[in-house]
């Protein structure tokens, strides 16, 4: 048993301890804080599994943006005291649920232990076809070229989720006072941070997008950081969340999926296949798609987390 293996086991134990605390914690706020800590420890796990792009995504989206979303929800939704009193004392459902969860975990663990050795892998195929795009990061190759259909449909899913969130906003009765998103305080410390950090954050986000071609990074990670900077500005009260009825906002939101779809149909029109890039133009086309994607991702993720509770009638 080497030191590195012992450290990995220790990280795994810590991850499970924080996960248990998230489930068992009394208050919603404590549980969400535990979930954010769980996400950050999971980032370490991803680094140990040699998945740097996934580690960046987990830190930015999995624990950062999801944590902000759930913290906002935990503060706005008071706990249902009636439910907690009634159902915490029943023993039989808890034992049955524990047995079922243990069975599922056991099946998954058995699957892990029985994984075939040598492991099947698509890495040689990905390596052999990497010359088609000229990009150095294999994950970006898979996302933008080999499985580009998945990425395009995921953009559409993001926009659909935003449409769902907007349609759930209550229509404001005319004359009623609108609910503020946060209490803006223009001279506070948060406003100072919101004036100082976004220029740095925007540079970091675009840098991550650019470096994603050859090193770990990419459109999702860069877009998430841009969304976080925008959320910081909105939370500090230095800017308002735009309403969904503005035409330019809607145009910018569909910019990503539509550029993706257009280039895909262009490949079909050239006679090869849907989403096939012509060999000479592969890298510029992929970069164009990635820029449009980052804009859409940043706007959509920011609007999903800063969801308005009301919309104009």
């Amino acid at each position: 048993m080497t030191i590195v293996f012992a450290l990995d086991c220790w990280i795994a134990v810590l991850v499970l301890a924080v996960a248990s605390w998230t489930i068992m914690a009394r208050g919603s706020f404590a549980a969400v804080v535990g979930f954010v800590a769980f996400g950050l420890l999971l980032t370490l796990v991803w680094v140990r599994l040699d998945a740097i792009d996934v580690a960046l995504t987990e830190a930015a989206i999995g624990s950062g943006l999801t944590g902000a979303l759930l913290l906002g929800a935990a503060s706005r939704l008071p706990e249902a005291e009636f439910a907690t009193q009634a159902q915490h004392s029943l023993l039989v459902p808890r034992v049955a649920a524990a047995l079922l969860s243990a069975a599922v975990a056991g099946v998954l663990a058995g699957g892990v232990l029985l994984l075939p050795d040598p492991a099947p892998s698509l890495a040689p195929v990905a390596d052999a076809n990497a010359v088609a795009t000229g990009l150095g990061n294999p994950v970006t190759n898979v996302l933008m070229a080999f499985r580009a259909m998945d990425t395009m449909l995921e953009k559409v899913v993001l926009v659909l989720a935003l449409v769902g969130v907007w349609s759930l906003a209550q229509v404001r009765r005319s004359g009623a006072h609108p609910l503020p998103l946060h209490r803006p305080d223009r001279d506070s410390t948060l406003a100072f941070l919101a004036r100082l950090l976004p220029p740095v954050g925007i540079v970091v986000g675009i840098y991550l997008l650019w470096e994603g071609a050859d090193h770990p990074g990419g459109a999702f990670q860069g877009g998430a950081i841009l969304a976080a900077m925008w959320l910081l500005v909105m939370m500090a009260g230095l800017g308002d969340a735009p309403s969904g009825s503005r035409g330019r906002l809607r145009l910018a939101l569909i910019c990503g999926p539509s550029v993706f779809l257009t280039i895909g149909l262009f490949g079909l029109w050239l006679g090869e296949a849907f989403l096939a890039y012509p060999a000479a133009y592969a890298k510029p086309l992929i970069l164009a798609i990635e820029f449009a994607m980052t804009l859409t991702i940043a706007l959509t993720l920011g609007l999903l987390v800063a969801a308005p509770r009301e919309s104009a009638a």
Binding site: S28, V45, A51, L70, R76, A109, A119, A123, N141
Partner: protein, 111 residues
């Protein structure tokens, strides 16, 4: 070797998430447990990716791309669920998934 340890950790996290999803009556806690379940499943993908190291790559890139896509979609689904909970609370005065608690909450709000 360490990939197997992380795989067992992911399986246990998925089991914990499932337990929390079934047991806790509050919808926000169910949402947290659901995210935990998803994170455990993603770690299992990561283990498969790490074991697929071949041809000068230290990990198989295809499962990693699937996990990145999955994480973004999980955030979108969580945002939609939070919006649903918020609307439920605005409309009914309490957030719970059974009828008695909802009517009790409504009665407490407008007696």
């Amino acid at each position: 070797m360490s990939a197997t340890a992380f795989g067992l950790c992911g399986a246990a996290a998925a089991g914990l998430g499932l337990y929390g999803l079934i047991i806790d009556p509050q919808p926000l806690r169910k949402l947290l447990a659901f995210n935990l379940l998803g994170a455990g499943a993603f770690v299992l993908f990561g283990v498969v990716s790490r074991r697929g190291a071949a041809a000068t790559f230290s990990a198989d890139p295809v499962p990693q791309a699937l996990v990145i896509t999955g994480m973004v979609v999980a955030l979108a689904a969580t945002a939609l669920a939070v919006a649903l909970l918020q609307r439920l609370f605005d409309a009914a005065g309490a957030t719970a998934l059974d009828a008695e608690t909802m009517s009790a909450g409504r009665d407490a709000r407008d007696p």
